[in-house]
Amino acid sequence: MTAPVTSTAHRIATRALGWLHTHRARAGLPADTTADLGDPNSVYKPLGETALAGSLVLRDAAAGSTDKRIAKELLDHSWAQFRQGDLLYERQLRHQLMTDPLETYAHFARSGYHHEGMARLLRHNAGLASVRAAEVVPNRRLAIANAARLAGVDLGTDWDALARATWLGAAAEPWAIDWMTAYAMTHTVFHLTDWGGRPEGLPVEMAGYLTTWLPVWIDIWREVSQWDLVAELMIVGACLEEPLCDPESWAALAAVQHEDGLVPRDGEPVAEDEQQRFVDHQHTAVVAAVAGCVAVARTLTTTGGTGA
């Protein structure tokens, strides 16, 4: 059943990436943006997420040349919005304990972008007890640790201990999960495996737990059309050492994707207004692009995904 998933995943990723590229001019920081970022979630965070999707397409050799060109242009667009890294550097310098500049920079570092001042600042910060001891929940701490790894700095992370400290690490009652915990769980997997780049980073017992329960969670959130979360859960399946890529779920995601590449975040009506459509569904397009990209790479490099 690998071939249909690979081709479906590839089509979803290409179309989602194309949609992000077509509408990239809608994601621009105001000219007077300072490092303080009055509203970091409106444009800054999505620009970073788009950079993540682009960086994974460039990382995974399976993408075609058109996808790679589009991915590079998306990264260039975000990098230009961040003033070739100056904005990230200024924000990190001014707000030493904030982690979003590092986490955003990591996507670019993955693709070979470099900012000398940022690299120096991150090395300096990594040695500070204040930075290392900042109080952060475990799945978020994993995000920071993985970003530091990509940026080439060492925060002294004990990965095994950190993995055990997450909700996923507790092998928790699968029937007591909720929407927010599900998102947190997916990110535990993303950062432990660097988005499917190092599946061995996920402890074996956690992979076994996910193989058992992921089909249930995908089923129940598919039923209520929570496409954004469903696609995140499908990334988790693709990140496992033995990928769990159910052809039916991939076909369902492909079926809800619009002709122009938009992937609706949920079952609510999609707005007519182009800018509103972009703002509402940008995150899901990133997730779909990442899901497709990781699934293609993983189903091609393993004996194949299995449905369950």
């Binding site: 029937w175 999960i177 058992t212 329960w213 089909p215 449905g307 369950a308």
Partner: protein, 250 residues
């Protein structure tokens, strides 16, 4: 719906709730010595009472199945009368050839007859042919629909029924566990309670399970509300769990 049809349905629903309450009392060691006979005799609508016995089926004998005692002759007669008034269709092919719903009913009727044979003094008088096993007894790619079927077949989880259905449950612990987790997350507590009975059987039999049944049953119980049928399933699941060495009845 015609008014007459509606009132018949309401009468049947009422009868099922009253009977479930009686069976629950028996399971708790309170109530009549012949609860089923008393239920039929005291019913304003005896046909609805017999229909309720047929629908609750093998679970009307849950106390005997779990405790090993003989059923009161009056109760045995009531169950036999229900089977006579509402007989199992003669030919019930297994799905996909036949309807899954009728097939599940045939299995439940068979389970009732099995328990009657075991717990009626004076031996068997009931001859219920065992339904065809069929591929539907394995998940075959859809653990979701298989778990729904197993929930419909939950009376067959009672001790003493045995046969291909409990064997199928024991072969597929992960599909059962997924099914109950799905039911919990969908807030479908009636289905979860029925599947909890199978989970409890597997736990009792030492089949490795990917989840702990005790907190699961407690959680369903907290959500049980006033539903007597659900409360009966939870009580049976608890009783099955209590038969495991090292556990006490809760």
């Amino acid at each position: 719906m015609r008014p007459a049809e509606g009132s018949v349905r309401a009468a049947y629903a009422d009868a099922i709730a009253v009977l479930a309450h009686r069976v629950l009392d028996t399971l708790r060691g309170v109530g009549d010595t012949a609860p089923l006979a008393g239920f039929v005799e005291g019913a304003a609508d005896p046909k609805a009472a017999l229909a309720a016995i047929r629908i609750i089926g093998a679970d009307t004998l849950a106390a005997q199945a779990l405790g090993g005692a003989a059923a009161h002759p009056g109760d045995v007669a009531a169950v036999r009368q229900a089977a006579a008034v509402f007989p199992t269709p003669v030919h019930v092919p297994a799905p996909p050839e036949g309807s899954a719903e009728n097939w599940a009913v045939a299995w439940r009727d068979w389970a009732t007859a099995r328990l009657l044979e075991r717990h009626a003094d004076g031996g068997a008088e009931t001859h219920a042919p065992q339904p065809a096993a069929g591929p539907a007894l394995a998940p075959n790619g859809s653990w979701q629909s298989w778990a729904v079927l197993m929930a419909q077949l939950s009376p067959l989880s009672l001790p003493g029924v045995e046969g291909p259905v409990p064997d199928a449950a024991r072969r597929h612990p992960v599909s059962l566990a997924r099914g109950i987790t799905r039911a919990m997350l969908r807030r479908d507590y009636p289905t979860a309670a029925r599947l909890a009975r199978w989970i409890a059987v597997l736990h009792r039999d030492g089949v490795p399970l990917p989840l702990d049944p005790a907190p699961l049953v407690e959680h369903i119980s907290l959500h049980a509300g006033g539903g007597t049928r659900l409360a009966l399933d939870v009580a049976i699941a608890r009783a099955l769990l209590a038969t495991t060495p090292g556990r006490t009845a809760g």
